[in-house]
Point group: C2
Amino acid sequence: MLWGRNRIIGKTAGRDKEQDSAAVKDRGQTPADFSRIYSKDLLPAPGGEEMTRGFLQELVNILLGYISKSSQRSSKVLDFHHPHQLKEECFTLDLPDQPETLEQILVDCKDTLKYGVRTGHPRFFNQLSSGLDVVGVAGEWLTSTANTNMFTYEVSPVFVLMEEFLLRKMQSIVGWSDDVGDGIFCPGGTISNLYSILVARYHFYPEVKTRGMGVLPQLALFTSEQSHYSVKKSAAVLGMGSENVFMVKCDESGKMIPAELESSIVTAEEKGLVPFYVNATAGTTVYGAFDPLKAIADICHRHTLWMHVDAAWGGALLMSDRHKIKLAGIERAWSVTWNPHKMMGVPLQCSVILVKKRGLLQECNDFGAEYLFQTDKNYDVSYDTGDKSIQCGRHVDVFKLWLMWKAKGSEGFGSQVNKCLENAEYLYDQLQRRTDFELVLKNKPEHSNVCFWYIPPSLRGLPPGPDRDAILHQVAPRIKGRMMEKGSVMIGYQPLGDKVNFFRGVFSNPATQQEDVDFLLDEIARMGDDL
Amino acid sequence: MLWGRNRIIGKTAGRDKEQDSAAVKDRGQTPADFSRIYSKDLLPAPGGEEMTRGFLQELVNILLGYISKSSQRSSKVLDFHHPHQLKEECFTLDLPDQPETLEQILVDCKDTLKYGVRTGHPRFFNQLSSGLDVVGVAGEWLTSTANTNMFTYEVSPVFVLMEEFLLRKMQSIVGWSDDVGDGIFCPGGTISNLYSILVARYHFYPEVKTRGMGVLPQLALFTSEQSHYSVKKSAAVLGMGSENVFMVKCDESGKMIPAELESSIVTAEEKGLVPFYVNATAGTTVYGAFDPLKAIADICHRHTLWMHVDAAWGGALLMSDRHKIKLAGIERAWSVTWNPHKMMGVPLQCSVILVKKRGLLQECNDFGAEYLFQTDKNYDVSYDTGDKSIQCGRHVDVFKLWLMWKAKGSEGFGSQVNKCLENAEYLYDQLQRRTDFELVLKNKPEHSNVCFWYIPPSLRGLPPGPDRDAILHQVAPRIKGRMMEKGSVMIGYQPLGDKVNFFRGVFSNPATQQEDVDFLLDEIARMGDDL
C-alpha cells in the first residue's frame, strides 16, 4: 500500500505512520509537516519564503531519488498498469473544488513518477529520445522558473540572444557560410518539417500567403517511402493533400534511390503536377538510413526544387568527426531539421529548423501585431524574432541546449554520439553471432538503429515463407507485452514493407553500456523461449 | 564585477575569492567546490550520485533565491541591457569545444536569471502571462525530470490519462455534455486556433486531407478586427490566404458587431467565396472585449458555419462564478481555445484546443505510423492519442495544470480570477479619479485589461486633435523606454485603430496588489512629467 494509492485517506485522523517513516528513510532526513499547508501559503504570500523553500526542497528530494533510481539497473524501467487499473486502483485523477494540502501534492508527485516510464533508464531502448542529462534537466528547471516567452527581446533578452547564437553555430556545423542562414526552435521535428514545406512554398509562390492555394498550380512533394510520416501530415495540414506527396522507392538498406526520385518527378509532371520540394532523410526512423544527399542535391538543382534534409535523428552525427561524413551533402540543402532532443540527449523538447535563405521565415510568417512587435521601442527591434514563427507565444527550448553545450563542449557531444554508435555496432556483432536472432539488414548499421527478429525455438526449423512469417509476426508483440508487464527493459517493434514485426534497437542514451545490450538479448530470449 | 561577467577568468590560478564569499553569503551555506567537477562526473556516471545531488541542490539554491527575489517589490523587474551590451559586456555566449566546469555552469545559470526579466514580479504588467506559481513550477520540474513524450500510453501512461481527464473537465466547464467533446494540449494559443480552422475545414471538406485545397471552393473565414492575429496567420499557413479572412467591424468597446458579421458573410458570398468558419473572441488581446457569443452562434447556425471561440485569454473567467456569465453562449461553439498559461497562472506553455465533435481531430490528422502506433499492443490502444496531433513528439504540458488544480481546487482558480479583475477595477477607478491620465474606454472593464494614456503636463492644455495626437503617440514609447532602463515596472503599449499609442494594463499575476497599481501610475507620471 506504500504510496500505492495517491489519495491520503483519513487525513484529519492523522498521517499515515508507515508512509511517514518510509518518507523519512527515503530522504534521509526529517520531513517537514505539509499536512496543514496549502499552496496559498507559498510565495508570493507574505512570509511564504520558508514554506516555499521547504516545499521545493521536498520536491527536489523526490526528483533526486527518481534520477538516482532511474540510473540503477536493478530498478524497473516501468511499473506497468493498464489504463483502467491505473485509474481505478492506483491513482485519483479527480480534481477537487477545495484545495488539497501540499502533503497530498507531494504524494501525487511521487506517484506520478512511480507509475511513469523511466526514459533515462539504461535499458530503455524504446524511443529515439532517451536518457536523462542532469545539466539538461537543470537547464529546464531554470527555464520553467524564468517562465518567459520567446516572442520579443523585451521579455527574453538572454534567451533570444542564445537562440540567435545557437542557430548560427548549428548553421555553421551544417556547412553554411556566415552570410546565409536563419532558423527557429520548434515544438518538435514534425513542426520543423512543416516549416520546411511552408517556406519552400512561400519561396516559389509568395502570393500564397495572402491569396491561398487556390491561385497556385497543383504542387508535388517528394520523400522516400521510409521517411517520417510528418511530410505527409504536414502536406495535409498545409492544404496540399497527402496524395500529392510522392513516396520514392528505397534500396534494401532504406536509402532513397536517386533514379526513382527522377522518375517520380517525371510521373508527377505527366500528371500535371508541379514538383517543388524534396525531403531527403538523414537517419530514417526505423532503419536509421541516410539518403544519398549529394545525388539528391544534384537532382534538386537540375529541376530547381527546394531540398530539405530531415536530420531530426541523424543531425547529431554532425557533432562527431568520425561519423559526420554520413551527412556529406547536407550543406547543399535549403533547409534542415535537427532535433537536439534525440541523440544529443537534450530534454524534450528541442528541435530546430534551419533555413538557408535569411529573412524568408520572417517574410513568410509575419503579421506584425502591433501590441507585441512595436517598431518604436528603445532597442534594436530586429531582435524581436517572434513573428518568424507560426506560433505566437513560444516555449524557451534553447537554454538547456546552450547549457549542455557549455558543460560538454562540442567534443562531449561528439563522444556521446560515438558511444551510441559503438553500442549499435556491439548489438549488431552479438546478433550476427547468435543463432536465436536474425538481422533484418545484413550490413553494418550506419546509425544507431539495429533491427532484428527473435526466432523462438519452435520456428527455427521452419523454412522461410508466408507460414513462418505469419507466426513470426506475432512474436515481437507478444514479447513486448511480457516485457511491459515485467518492466525490465523496453524496446519498440513494427513491421515495415514486406517485413513482419521486428524489434528496432536504438541507442541514444549515454547511460547504456554493453552489459545492457547483452541483457536485452538475453531477456528477449527468456521471454520468447516458449513461443 | 560580482557575477557581472559570466566567464570566470583565470580558473587555473584559483577561484575568485570575492565571488566565492558572495556565493556563500547568497546561499547561507558553504558551497561545494565545483571548480574541478564536470558534467561527465554526474549521473549516470558510476558514483555520480553525490555530485548530482550537490549540483542540483546548488542550482535549486539559485532558483530559490530567484523566486524569492522575484516576489520582492524592492527588487528590479529587469536589469536592462541592449543586445550589443549583453553580448559584449555581460555574457559570453560562446560555446567551447572542451567542457566547462560545473562551477562555470552555475555561474551561467545565475547570470541568465540576472539579465532576464522577472515575469513573476508583482509589477510586471507587460504580458497576458505573468506570475510564478510555485506548484506550477514544481510540476514543470517534475515534467522535465520525467522527460517523456505524449504520443503513446506506453511511454506516458499517467500523463495521457491526466490529459484525457482534464480535457473532459474543461469540456464540462465549457458546458458540453459528457457524450461529446475531444481536444488536445497544444504549444500555444496560436496553434490551438490553427487546429480550430484545420478541423473545421476537414469537417466540411474531408477530401482536403488527401487531395488538398485545389479541389475545394475558395473558402472564407470571419473574425473581428480586434481578434488575435493568429487567425490570419493560420489561414496563411493552412493555404487559405490571409486576404480570405474577413475582419469584421467592432463596436467602441471592441466587441464584434453581429450585423457586421452578417454583412461580411454576404459580401464574401457575393465575391464567390464560400464562408465556413467564424472565430469569436472571448477576451481580446488589447481591450479584453468579449464578442456577443449568442448572437454569433445564431448567425453561425443559420449559415451552417463552424463557430470557434478563441478564449485563450478569457477562458479563465469560466472558473469564476462571478464572471463566467461573460462567456455565456460558449457552449454553442464547435471548438474552443483556452490557455491556462494566461490568467490561471500555469507556467508556459499550457494551451488547449477543445473540439465538440469527438473523433474529428483523429480523423483529420492521423497517418498511423506503424513504428509508433501499433495496433497489436498488449493494452487498449485507444489511449495512444498521439496521432490526433499535428505534431509527432509532444511536450507534456498537462501535469503542471493538473497539479495546480489539485493544490488550488477549482475555487482557488476562481478566487485568483476574481482578484485579477478586482485589480483591474481598482486601476480603472484610479484612472477615473486622476487628471494626469485618460481612459481609452469609458466603460468599466469586463476583463482585466485597462487601457489608458498618460497626459504629460505640456499636453494638458491642448485641445484633442491631430496635433495633440502626434505628440501623445510618442509619450508611451518614451516612458516605456525609461521604464526599461530603470527596471522598476513593465507595462505594454500599442496603437489601435485610430487611437495613438496607449498603455495596456493587464492583470494575471496573483502577486499583484493595489499598492502595485498605485506604484504603476505614480511611476509613469514621474517618468513622463517632463515630456
